[in-house]
Structure formats: C-alpha cells, structure tokens
C-alpha cells in the first residue's frame, strides 16, 4: 500500500526519513495549522513556534541513527539543530525529534512558566521560528544528500 506523503514543506523531512527507513509514527510542528473557529477550520500563522519533526522508525537501525545524528551535527545553517531522544514510557521503541537546539535548552525556563518549549520560544524568542522554518529546508536537503546512497 502506498504511504501518503506529507505535503507541507515543514514536514518534508519526514518524507526523507521515511525513504531512508519506514516510519511507524510521525508528527511535526505545522507552520500554518488549521484550527476550529465557530463552525469551520481556519488556517493560522504559527511561525513563531519553531519547527520540529518527531518520528519512530518501524525497524530502527543504530547505524542509521548514528549517521542521521552526524548529518545534523555537520549541518551549518542559520540555526543549530539537534536530534532528541525520547524512550517511550512503558512501551518499546524510541521516538526521535529533530528541532532547533533551543527547544531543549529552554525546557527548564518553560517548565517554570508551565509552557511547552515551543510556546516559550514563540513568546520570548519570536524571531527564532521564522528563521528556523527557512533553515529547515536547508537541513532537509542536507539530510537527503547525506543519505543519497540509500
């Protein structure tokens, strides 16, 4: 069965990752998500919330993770990116997140204000989001190239 690709540019990295090795879970921060207003959906601009993609490989290989980590570390763009690890609570497997390193750096401050890190950044570092969305295109190209032999 064919897998539906993500058409939003900020989710394209998930298509690249799926091509490297099939995913069984994926999620990403939408730049222009649809929210319910009254009796219909409306697009809103959430550019101030920095982008991230989260995923879990259906069959994870350590070599792929290492290579992905290296590719992210070697990318020199406008934003510093990182690969975050979340060991699933009570279930097997690891969920990975690729996002600007600031998402992890502000966690403590965000927690004090009872905010998720992306909302903290939207509020206190609003200039980061738009820059990161632009830079994510470069990172996606970079990772695609790094795995061009796969």
């Amino acid at each position: 069965m064919s897998v539906r690709k993500i058409t939003a540019p900020e989710g394209d990295l998930l298509n690249v990752l799926y091509a490297i090795s099939p995913l069984e879970w994926r999620k990403f921060q939408q730049r222009y998500p649809e929210i319910w207003v009254g009796d219909h959906f409306e697009k809103v601009d959430r550019s101030k919330c920095p982008p991230y993609v989260s995923f879990r490989f259906a069959d994870e290989h350590g070599a792929v993770i290492e290579r992905l980590k290296m590719a992210i570390e070697n990318y020199s763009g406008k934003v510093v990116w990182m690969l975050g690890k979340h060991k699933r609570d009570g279930l097997p497997g690891i969920n990975w997140t690729i996002g600007p390193s600031r998402l992890w750096e502000v966690k403590k401050q965000a927690l004090k204000l009872d905010l998720p890190p992306e909302q903290y950044i939207a509020q206190y570092e609003p200039e980061l989001g738009p820059v990161a969305y632009d830079d994510l295109e470069g990172l996606t190209k970079h990772i695609r190239q790094a795995f061009s032999d796969v």
Binding site: S2, V3, K27, I35, W36, R56, D89, N95, E118
Partner: protein
C-alpha cells in the same frame, strides 16, 4: 464540531474516576503537551490507571499515513494510526478533549475528520 468538545456525560453511567483523575495529573498533562510522546504511551498510562479494565483501541486510515486527527486544538494530518483508552462507554483522549467523550460521539468525530473512511479495532498494530 471539533471545538465543541464538551460532550455530554451520561449521569447514570459516569466515567471512570481513576482515569479522569489521571487525565488531570501533571504527568498526563505533560505527556499530552509533549511533542515527542505518542498517543500509545498516553493510552497505556490511562489503561494502567483503570487497573487494566477496558482496552486500548486503534484507528487506522484507509491509506497508510492519511489519518487526520484533531489534537491539542489543531488539525493534524498525515498520521499512521491513533490509539486511545476506552472503558467501553467513554473514550479518554486527552489530546482531543480534557474530558471523557462518549464512545459513539468520538467515533462520529473521527469519521467526520476522515470522510474517506477509517477502521477502528482493538487489534493493535501500532505498538
């Protein structure tokens, strides 16, 4: 429809208090907001809060990766599956609603979000 998620609870058949309390706990609230946490982890926690009563059910789209959900106030497309805990009468889906939703209403909601069709089953593939 999605924003009006204050579905009516049937007084004669109240939701499971232990699960409702768990949904209101800081742990589940953090998991609900955390982008690296998936729905299966939350469903499993709520199943445990119910003392193992009830079950986790899974929604899958007709085409892989084409499931649309309404989570944390936004439309989320491109999902492979979605798992939630149910006690048989109510569905406890903290990313959809902070309160339990009658199972039939939730089924109607998910079908409305996915007019091309979904399958709902307790045969989990997404773990």
């Amino acid at each position: 429809m999605p924003a009006a998620l204050a579905y009516a609870v049937t007084p004669a058949f109240p939701p499971n208090k232990s699960v409702v309390d768990a949904m209101e706990s800081p742990n589940i609230k953090n998991m609900t907001a955390c982008d690296g946490t998936d729905c299966s982890e939350i469903a499993r926690k709520l199943f445990n809060a119910a003392g193992g009563q009830g079950k986790v059910i899974e929604v899958r789209p007709m085409q892989s990766g084409n499931l649309t959900l309404y989570e944390n106030g936004t439309k989320e497309s491109g999902q492979f599956h979605h798992q939630v805990y149910t006690d048989g009468r109510y569905v406890y889906d903290s990313r959809l609603s902070s309160s339990p939703i009658p199972k039939g209403d939730r089924e109607q909601h998910i079908k409305g979000m996915n007019p091309e069709g979904v399958t709902i089953s307790d045969k989990l593939k997404g773990l």
